[in-house]
Chain length 346, copies 4
Amino acid sequence: MTKYSFLYDYAEGAHPEILKALTETNTIQQLGYGEDEYCLEAAKLIKNIFELPYAEIHFVSGGTQANMTVISSILKPYESVIAAQTGHIAVHEAGAIEFTGHKINTIKTPDGKLTPELIKPVLIEHYDEHMVVPKLVYISNSTELGTIYTKKDLKELSYFCKENNLMLFMDGARLGSSLTSKDQDLTPKNIKDFVDVFYIGGTKNGALAGEAIVLINDNLKEKFRYSMKQKGALLAKSRLFGVQFAVLFKNNLFFDLATYSNKLAYKFAEEITNLGYKFIAEPQTNIIFPVIPDKTVLKLEKKFMFYPWKKYDKNNTTIRLVTSWATKEEKIDEFLEILSKDSHNS
Amino acid sequence: MTKYSFLYDYAEGAHPEILKALTETNTIQQLGYGEDEYCLEAAKLIKNIFELPYAEIHFVSGGTQANMTVISSILKPYESVIAAQTGHIAVHEAGAIEFTGHKINTIKTPDGKLTPELIKPVLIEHYDEHMVVPKLVYISNSTELGTIYTKKDLKELSYFCKENNLMLFMDGARLGSSLTSKDQDLTPKNIKDFVDVFYIGGTKNGALAGEAIVLINDNLKEKFRYSMKQKGALLAKSRLFGVQFAVLFKNNLFFDLATYSNKLAYKFAEEITNLGYKFIAEPQTNIIFPVIPDKTVLKLEKKFMFYPWKKYDKNNTTIRLVTSWATKEEKIDEFLEILSKDSHNS
Amino acid sequence: MTKYSFLYDYAEGAHPEILKALTETNTIQQLGYGEDEYCLEAAKLIKNIFELPYAEIHFVSGGTQANMTVISSILKPYESVIAAQTGHIAVHEAGAIEFTGHKINTIKTPDGKLTPELIKPVLIEHYDEHMVVPKLVYISNSTELGTIYTKKDLKELSYFCKENNLMLFMDGARLGSSLTSKDQDLTPKNIKDFVDVFYIGGTKNGALAGEAIVLINDNLKEKFRYSMKQKGALLAKSRLFGVQFAVLFKNNLFFDLATYSNKLAYKFAEEITNLGYKFIAEPQTNIIFPVIPDKTVLKLEKKFMFYPWKKYDKNNTTIRLVTSWATKEEKIDEFLEILSKDSHNS
Amino acid sequence: MTKYSFLYDYAEGAHPEILKALTETNTIQQLGYGEDEYCLEAAKLIKNIFELPYAEIHFVSGGTQANMTVISSILKPYESVIAAQTGHIAVHEAGAIEFTGHKINTIKTPDGKLTPELIKPVLIEHYDEHMVVPKLVYISNSTELGTIYTKKDLKELSYFCKENNLMLFMDGARLGSSLTSKDQDLTPKNIKDFVDVFYIGGTKNGALAGEAIVLINDNLKEKFRYSMKQKGALLAKSRLFGVQFAVLFKNNLFFDLATYSNKLAYKFAEEITNLGYKFIAEPQTNIIFPVIPDKTVLKLEKKFMFYPWKKYDKNNTTIRLVTSWATKEEKIDEFLEILSKDSHNS
C-alpha cells in the first residue's frame, strides 16, 4: 500500500514480542485444541489480572466467531439478544447471529451505548409466545463509535439486567482501548461484578489473531468447548493463541499497547478540534469520527486510507480514523498538515 | 510434555521459514480480510501449481471451519452430503454440518474411501420429498485412516458424480501427505479435472493455522466471502494465512514437508511390520494404524503419546501413530526399540 | 366465553359450506400429502381466478408456517428479507424466520406499508460482505394495521424490486379483506404482474385452517414440496385443505365472506367516527384501530373482548377491533351503544 | 381413486363422530392458539386416561412437526438424538431434525426397535468435544415396521436412559395401534413411568389432522408454546384439534378405532400366512409386510394400491399393507382372493 492507512487497527502484523515468543516456543511439542501450556499460562494471567479465579478462558480466532459461539451457546432457540443498532453483531457480521437461529432486537442509540432506559421498551413489547424472549444484552466496550462504558454505565446496566433476568455479554474486541481510555474508571478487576461473559480482543491490540472469551457465570461454562468445536472455533494449534495472550498479559503489554494507541488518537482529536472541526461522537478511544469538508477529504485520500463513515451534510463527510499500537506519530502529523491547510482556524 | 508425541501432526508450531516470513513482513501495512498482498501472492502460487487460473482461493483458520463453510454454501436446505462413516464431518466436528442444517448420509467403508458402488444405494433410497436430496459427495484425501484416493479412484468417483448430478468436495486437510504418498499417481495438476472444490491443509503440514479453500466450479464462487463472514471465517489479519501459504508454495516447501513426514511413517511401518505386527489399514501416508498387544501398549505409553484407536481383539489394540514435518527420527527408533523387545519376531 | 369477541377473525370455526363439503367427501379414499383430488381442484380454481395457469399451488396449515417455508426456500444463507417493523414476520412469529437462519431488515413505516422510498436506504447501507444481502421484500396485504396495498402501490413496489434484483412476497393472510376493500382497485388477476409469490389466507376468512401458497416465479418452484416436508408443512390428510379451498373458490364464497366482514367493519368505523373518535390508521378492511378513552375501554371490556393495542396518550388507548365472516351485526350495535353513552358527540 | 388403497391409514377423512362434533361446536366463539375450551377438555381427558395430572398437553398438525418441535426444544446445539435407522426422523422427514441443527445418530436394528444393547456402542463412541453429545433417544411405538415396544421393552430402555442421563421420547404417531396390539401389555397408565415426552397420533387413527404432545418431564415444559410458535406449530383455530381429541378420548373411541384397525390387519396377516407367505417383521399392528412373488404383486396392483417396500430376492418383493379405522373388510377379502389364486398353498 502506497498510502498510509488509518483504516483500522489491524493493518500491521503482531507486536514484535509476540513473534519472538512464537519463534522461541515453536519446536516444543504441545497438546492441541486449547490444552497447550501456553493457553493454560495465558488463562492464568488473565484470571489474575481480572481477578477471576473461577472463570473459564477460551481462545478463538476472531470477533464474529467469538460472538456467534458465545451468543448461540447462551440462548434457547426462541430467545433473542438485544443490541444497539450500531452493534457489530447487528450490522457487520453478515447475519452470523441469525444464522445460529436467533433474532437480534436492535435499539437506536445516540452514541452506540445501551442504557436501561433504552432497553425497557423492548422488554415491554415482548410479552407472549408469539414473540421472541429477549434474554441477553450485548454491548461493545469500547463501542463501534469509539465511546466507552464507564463503571457507572456498566453498573446500572448490570443491575437492570439482573432485575430483569437478562444475561449481559460484553464484546471486548477493543476492551484494551476502553480500559485505558482517559475517561475510564472501570478497571479489569471491576468487570467480574457486572457481566456474565466478555471477551478480550487480541487482534485489534497487537496479536496476529485471537480473542479470549472469559466465562464468568457458571451456567455458561458447561460443555463450552463443544459449542466451540461445532462452530469451527477450536483451533488445532491453539498455542498460536496461548503464546500471544501470555505475552500480552505478561508485563502489562496489553495495556501499554492500548494506552499508546489511545494517546495517539487523543493527539489526533485534539489537533483536529483545534483546527475547528467537530466530531459526531466524543473521542474517547482509538477510533475517532471527525466531520471534514468533502474537498478536504479528497485531498486527504490522495495520501491516506480511511473510511468515509457517512455524509454529514451537503458539503461535509464524517470520516473514521483509527490508530493502533503500530501507528506512526509522524503520519498523524502529515495528515494534520494537509488538514490544517484547508482549515479556517489555521 | 515429558513424553514424545505421535498424537498428531500439529504438536509443534510452524516451519521456521514461515515464522521468518511472518517476522520480515510484520510491519508492512496491509488490507485485511483476505485482500492483503500475501493472500494474493499465495493464491497466485496455488493457481499455478494446481493449474487453476480461474479458481477462487480463500483462506480459513481450520478444517471444521472450511468444511462447514464450503458445505453449507453449496447445499439447499433440503439437500444432504454423502460421507464415509469415518469421514471427519461425520464424526469429529461435533455436529458442525448438522448445525448448518444439513443431514450427512454416512456410508460404511472398509478403508475410509467412497466408491461409486458404495454411493449408489444411497441415491436409490432417496427418491421423493419425504427424504433429503443427496447433492454433494465429501471425501478426505488422504483419509482419516491414512489411505489415499489415487488418480483412478478420483476419476471414477468424479465421473459417477457428474452422471448423477452430484458435486464432489475433497477435504485436503492432509492433501500434502496424499500427493506425496509412495502409492500416489495423482498430481496437483490432475485435481481440477475431478472435483468441484477442495481445500489444502496448512495446519497439518507446517503452518501455524490455515486451510486454503479452492473453488473450481464457477457456480460455487458467488458471494463466497459472505458465507465465510457469516461463519466467522473471514480473518481480519488475513496476512497470517497469506504469508504462510506463500512460503509453503514457494520452493516446493509444502511437498517437501509432506514427503519427509511420509518417509518417516514408511520407515515406522516397515519396521513394525518386520517385528511381526499388522495394520488395520494400508500404511500409505503419515498416519498408520498398527495392531499392538495391550501389554506392549502400556509400556509404550510410559514414554510416548499416541491414540489407542480401538480394541482389536481380547489382547490387542489398534493404535494410531502420526508423523509430521517436525518428527524426530530418533524418537521413532526409541519407540521401535521398546516394541522390538516385546516382539516375537525380534 | 361469556363476552363477545372482537379479538380476531378466527374465533369461530369454519363456514358451514366447508363443514358440509368435508362431511360429504369424508369417506372417499384419497392420496395424501397434497395429491388428493380436492387439492388439485382447489389449485385449478385458484389458477383460474388469479389467471395464473402456470403457478404452483401448495397448501399449509397456518401463516407462520407459510412464511417460514416460503422465505427460507428463497434465500441463500447470507441473504435477508426486508419487512415493515409491524410486519407479522418481524414481530409475531417468535423468531421463526431467524430460526431458519435469516435476518429481517425492519423498516419503520407510518401505516404498515413499504414503499421504494422506505426501502432504498436499506439497500444503500448493505454494500459488502460484512453485511447480509437484502434479497426479498415481504409485505402483508392487507397489513397488520388494516391498511391495503392498491394496484398503484404494488406496481411501484414491484417495479422497484425488479430494478434492484429483489424478490417480492405478499403475505395474504388477509388477502380477502384487501381485495374486497372499498378502497381497493387491485384485482385477483393483477397480482401475477407484481409479485413472485404470495399466499391466500383461509384461516382468517372462513376456513378451519389453511393457507394457499401461490408460486409464480419459476425459480421458486423447484422441489418446494421438499421444503414443505422439511418444515413439517406437508399434511398427510391434505384433503382437509383441498376441500376447504375448493369450497371457498367455488361460487365466489371467499370474496363474499371478506366483503361481509369488511362491510361490518366499515359500519363499525363510521359510527365510531360519528361518535367523535379517531383512528390511528385508515379503516380500510376488517381490522380497525380507534382511539378510546381509558375509562370507556374499561366499560367495554366488561362485555366484549378486544386487544388494547397501545397507550395513545395519558387518558386514551388505541384498541384493535376485528370483524369476520361470522361477526353478528347486533353485537356491533351493543358495542356502539356503550361507546355512545361515553361520547361527547352523542 | 379407482383402486382400493392399502397405502396408508390416512386415505379417508375423519371418523364421523369427529365431523359431527366439529359441526356442532362450529359457531361458538373460542380463544385461539390452544386456549379454546375443547383443547382444555381434550387435555383433561388425556391426563385422566394416561394418569398424568401434571403433564402439559399441546396439539400440533402432524408428526414431523411434532418431532421437530419436541426434539429441538430438548437438545442443546451440540446434542444429538439417537434413532433406529428405520426411524421416521431418520428417513422420512426430509432432514427436518437436521434443519433444526441436530445430528441423528442412527442405529441398525432387526425390527425397528432400539434396545440398551444397541444404544451402548453409540454412547461409548462419543466421548469428547470433537463429537456431538447423544442426549435423547427417539423411538416410534408402534414402529415403522409395525412392531411394538412392550412394557418390558420400554422399562429396560427407560432404565438404561436414566442411568445414562438420556431423555426418552416416544413418537406415538401410531400409539393407538401399539396400545391395542394383541401382543401388548403396556397400558396408557404405564407410559408415564418410562418416557419424558411422547405424542399421541390423531391423523393415523381417525382424526383429520392433529397429534397431541404430552410433556411429562417438568424440565421440558418451560415456554414450550414459544417453541411451537417458532416452528409454525401454533394453530390459530386450535379448536380443530381440541374438538377432535375430545371426541377421540371420550367413550374410548381412540382405542376402539385402533382395535378395529389391528383386528383387520391380523385377519389379513393370518390369511396371508395360511396361503404360505412369510413376513419380514412380526405382524403386531395395522402395518404388515408380507413377501409376495413379483408376478402376484403385478396382479394385485391392478386392483389395489400399496407400497412395494423392498425387493426381497430375485423373484419376490416385500410389500407394505396398512389397515385403518375405515378399512372395509370385503376389500381385504378381494385382495386375499387374488393372492390365493397364485398361492401354492391354496
